[in-house]
Amino acid sequence: MRVLSQAASFLGIPQDVIPGEPVITVTGRRNVYIENYNRIISFVDNEIKIQAKTCRVIVRGKRLGIEYYTGDDILITGVIGAVLTEG
């Protein structure tokens, strides 16, 4: 993964093309769209923890829910307070 990342950087290729990296798209305070996720670690009303391929993504807020998922993508809705990554 590191080799791929360095190669992409050297060639000037956008980082989100590198396979395995999660792509997080936040729309206002309503939606968080995460691509390349593996599984759900925890799911409570005010926090959803997602395991991506290279890190963990934590979404905090109120009345969080999973709108839908397709393959490796997931859409989280609610009142988004914070989006964190760890690991």
Partner: protein, 409 residues
Amino acid sequence: MRGGIFRWSQGYIHVRVAGYSGERFFNLCKSAGLAYWRVRRQGDGYCFYISRKDFFRLRPILRKSHMSMRILSREGLPFALRRNRKRKALAGAVLSFFVLLYAMSLFIWDVSFDGNYYYTREVLLDYLEEQGIRYGMMKHKISCDDLEEGIRSRFPEITWVSARVSGTRLLVKLKENQVLSSIPEADSQPCHITASTSGTITRMIIRQGKAKVRVGDPVEAGQQLVAGQLSVTNDAGEVIRTAWVHADADIYARTVYGYDMEFPRYHRVDVKTGKNRYGFVLAAGPWRFTLLAPDFERNSWNYRTNITQLHLFEDFYLPVYMGRIRGEAYVSYERPYTDQEKEQLSEKVRQDQIENLMEKGVQIIENNVKIQEYGVSWKVEGTIVAEEQIGVKRYITEYEETRETDERN
């Protein structure tokens, strides 16, 4: 939206799961490829929607993740059909509605003309009726090509026609010729000019022929004004030859038209009471249904109805007409004409007479009108002094030519 309609048609279930490991449950669903959506945390469990097909694959996953499930509701077409399986009449009605709508779409329910100014809609509709094209006929029986050709040959002033069937409408667009389609042929047949009406000659412009009257002469209807017969004489004044020409002249004369119109002394007047009444009308084919508020006072009413034809889309017209009725109550009684009403009526009569004459190209010089009382009635009497062309052609026949020759001999 498309996904929503597809899901509804397949059917989906709103369920609630609760138990030891909800996250593991959802991860297992993802691994198994089960589609769920709109997951919300509710108390110690989760509510979500799942398709009907995937619902039946939940059992092993529930067992594996130690979760229990409860069905909250069933949505979608399969469940709606099952819930209403005993309502056969409703299903029949819905089906009949769509069948009827489809059947209606096979016919023509509206004919529209665009671009016609010289030929009225009624004239064109009459022609279509002659060709067997009318409201309520099947669309596939109309041949647009034949119709276009027929209209072009029947109406020479129409230079371009386009007919097409769109929805339940027959749309005919046409373009009329702005100028004459043919040049009138010069008339050279020998003729006299006679007076069409009596009057006093005011102007004469003779281009061909021999004048029989002079300016200032009074003439009667039918009197010869310009002769088409020219006599060629010798030095002794004897007629040696007769030439017949096409008399051509503009003869203007002062004419007098009298008119009168009688009215009874009393006339019926309708006075509105201010009371109104409203209703609706629905008509389909030969059937008509009217809904009108009842009238318990038994008044007399004048009704006005505005009717429009129903249509689903721009070109999908139906043979159903809806309208709103407005009724105005009035009280009727007889009374004599007031002076003002007499003046208005006499003025209207006068204007009508003037318009009739002006349409014929007559120039009005004087117009006098008066009102005469006759006890049980009254009259509007007037005279119009006008100046107009009074010459009309009278063609010379072979018999007339022979008789002239015999008289000369």
